[in-house]
């Protein structure tokens, strides 16, 4: 596992306490895992995601990420309908490790209320939380 200063934190996303990130792109929200989260998990071997069209509430379990010897739950940082899941992860779950802010995104959501993202953290706040 890396030290926090070795990790990469994108400026244009917002972070949740449970280490998911959310990015607003036009009127949809893209959700993924932070570099800290993927580093803690180790090599990801499987990602379990909901189905297109499912509706979830903020804080609901979005799915699971598995490494060889651990399973971690992922939570959705905004309420809404799942528009698209990252199907590339089925064959290449390692994208979560290799490109957590780009190709390793998890789902795209049509948010019910975009203001729900207001209480997420920006990069500085997130770093502060990680450093405790």
């Amino acid at each position: 596992m890396k030290e926090i200063n070795e990790l990469n934190f994108s400026d244009d996303v917002k972070y949740s306490k449970s280490h998911e990130w959310a990015k607003i792109s036009r009127d949809i929200v893209i959700v993924g895992l932070s570099d800290y989260a993927q580093d803690q998990l180790g090599e990801v071997v499987f990602v379990e995601l909901p189905q297109n069209g499912d509706t979830l509430f903020k804080g609901d379990e979005l799915g699971n990420v598995e490494s060889v010897k651990a399973v971690s739950e992922i939570y959705i940082p905004v309420s809404g309908e799942i528009l698209e899941i990252n199907e590339g992860l089925e064959d290449a779950p390692e994208l979560v490790n290799e490109s957590c802010y780009e190709n390793g995104w998890l789902v795209k959501v049509k948010p019910d209320d975009i203001s729900e993202l207001d209480d997420l953290m920006n990069k500085a706040e997130y770093l502060k939380m990680l450093k405790g």
């Binding site: 071997v45 499987f46 379990e48 598995e66 490494s67 060889v68 010897k69 651990a70 399973v71």
Partner: protein, 444 residues
């Protein structure tokens, strides 16, 4: 005691290192009022000679001695076990190893079970087979739980009334604490599961049908698959006689989603009903829902092929209360036994064994008919079939056991009270024509 290597001097010097003055002091962390006073009320130790005598005396109280003729099946079958099987399986490297948690020194078990998984998928026509379960009943209960968990709307599972009675009871034990229920699919006068009755059932999460069924008859699985598809629910099949698929179409060819079976016929002694071998197989789609261990192929650091336990995140030690099952130890050595058996009989042998089972059963049925038995059904079967016995048969049957060590069928009215005086007969490759002729003469 020959299993305890410590000399008096060893004990003294080890106690010194441990900082204790006597063995009893090692237990000082246990409060005195929790300790027993006195000793266990268990007999003094026996020498190996005395043990042999005692055990042979017990073993001989079971009627399963020389000239043993077994015309019984019902989930436990008398098949020939080639000498290579116990010989190879008793190799201590297989027998005295633990679960292969350290793959570098467990490749024997791992490759062996990988080959087992492969041969089971071949036998059943399925994509994936697990590394084993306890027996067919527990594997089938797990399969029913998979179907129930996947269906959020229904909480009942439809199970054929011609599924092994013990298996139906186990399913009930496993699923009822979670609030699930079994509905039984009745059977027809042909001795087959009533597909019409099934069609009318609503609010079910899956269908489970045994074939050949408990009364020996071969079910038309395609009809049940059609119902499962129409209802958009999982189709589970089960079986107790794995050698049937040396001859019959396999469950995969009928589109089964999950298959649970008993593998005792594959080189494993009857051993009063256990340990047998639970088989559980599924389609690729069910891979992550299957409970129990799976072995996968991979590479080592040098790029050489090797095998490991894989997809462990489904299991209890990682997913804990969210695991697909609590199973940990399975019936590994019996899976290895079945693998050696399947490799021994091979493609040619399994066909011939299966044919001989079927042929002898046909001959036995004809012989019994001539001896005054009445055929219960006119339905195709593999190596088991149901007969209505003539009056006075039960007394003759007991005498045959006592005098000739011959077990002529199983009375099934305790399982199906409506089938009074009906006996389930079985013939395998271990029975000769002469044995059958002799039996027919005795029961006439």
């Amino acid at each position: 005691m020959r299993y305890l290597p410590h000399t008096k001097e060893d004990i003294e010097s080890m106690l010194k290192v441990a900082g204790q003055s006597c063995l009893d002091d090692l237990f000082n962390s246990i409060p005195d009022d929790l300790k027993i006073t006195g000793s266990l009320d268990i007999p003094e130790s026996l020498s190996e000679w005395e043990l042999n005598d005692h055990m042979e005396e017990l073993a001989s109280l079971n009627i399963a001695c020389k000239n043993y003729k077994c015309f019984m099946g019902a989930g436990s079958y008398d098949h020939y076990i080639p000498a290579v099987i116990p010989y190879l399986i008793s190799r201590s490297e297989f027998m005295t190893a633990y679960t292969p948690y350290q793959p570098e020194v467990s490749q024997g078990t791992l490759q062996g079970i990988y080959e087992f998984q492969t041969m089971v998928t071949e036998l059943l026509g399925m994509d994936i087979a697990t590394a084993s379960h306890y027996d067919c009943g527990t594997a089938l209960a797990e399969a029913c739980l998979i179907a129930l968990r996947q269906n959020k709307k229904a909480n009942k599972i439809a199970v054929s009334a011609l599924t092994h009675p013990s298996h139906r009871q186990i399913i009930h034990t496993y699923i009822s604490p979670s609030g699930y229920e079994i509905v039984e699919i009745p059977y027809t006068k042909e001795g087959l599961t009533d597909v019409k009755a099934l069609e009318a059932m609503d609010d079910i999460a899956g269908i489970s049908v045994q074939s050949p069924n408990f009364l020996g008859n071969i079910e038309d699985l395609s009809a049940f698959k059609a119902v499962a598809d129409a209802k958009k629910i999982l189709f589970i099949t089960s079986f107790t006689e794995s050698l049937a698929f040396g001859l019959l179409k396999n469950p995969g060819s009928f589109g089964a989603d999950l298959v649970a079976g008993e593998g005792q016929s594959l080189g494993i002694a009857k051993s009063f009903g256990g340990p047998g071998l639970g088989l559980l197989a599924g389609t690729k789609k069910q891979m992550r829902n299957l409970p129990g261990r799976l072995i996968g192929k991979t590479k080592d650091a040098n790029g050489d092929d090797g095998f490991v336990l894989t997809l462990a995140t489904r299991e209890q030690h990682i997913r804990r209360e969210k695991a697909s099952s609590n199973i940990c130890s399975n019936n590994g050595l019996n899976a290895m036994t079945a693998a050696v058996y399947l490799a021994t009989v091979g493609k040619i042998g399994i066909r011939e064994i299966a044919r001989q089972n079927h042929d002898k059963a046909i001959y036995l049925k004809k012989s019994l008919e001539m001896a005054g038995f009445e055929s219960a059904f006119d339905t195709p079967f593999f190596n088991e079939f149901l007969m209505k016995a003539p009056e006075g048969f039960e007394q003759k049957r007991s005498a045959l056991i006592n005098d000739k060590c011959t077990f002529a069928g199983i009375c099934i009215d305790k399982f199906y009270p409506e089938l009074k005086h009906h006996y389930l007969f079985c013939a395998t490759e271990t029975i000769s024509k002469k044995d059958i002729d002799q039996l027919a003469k005795e029961v006439k």
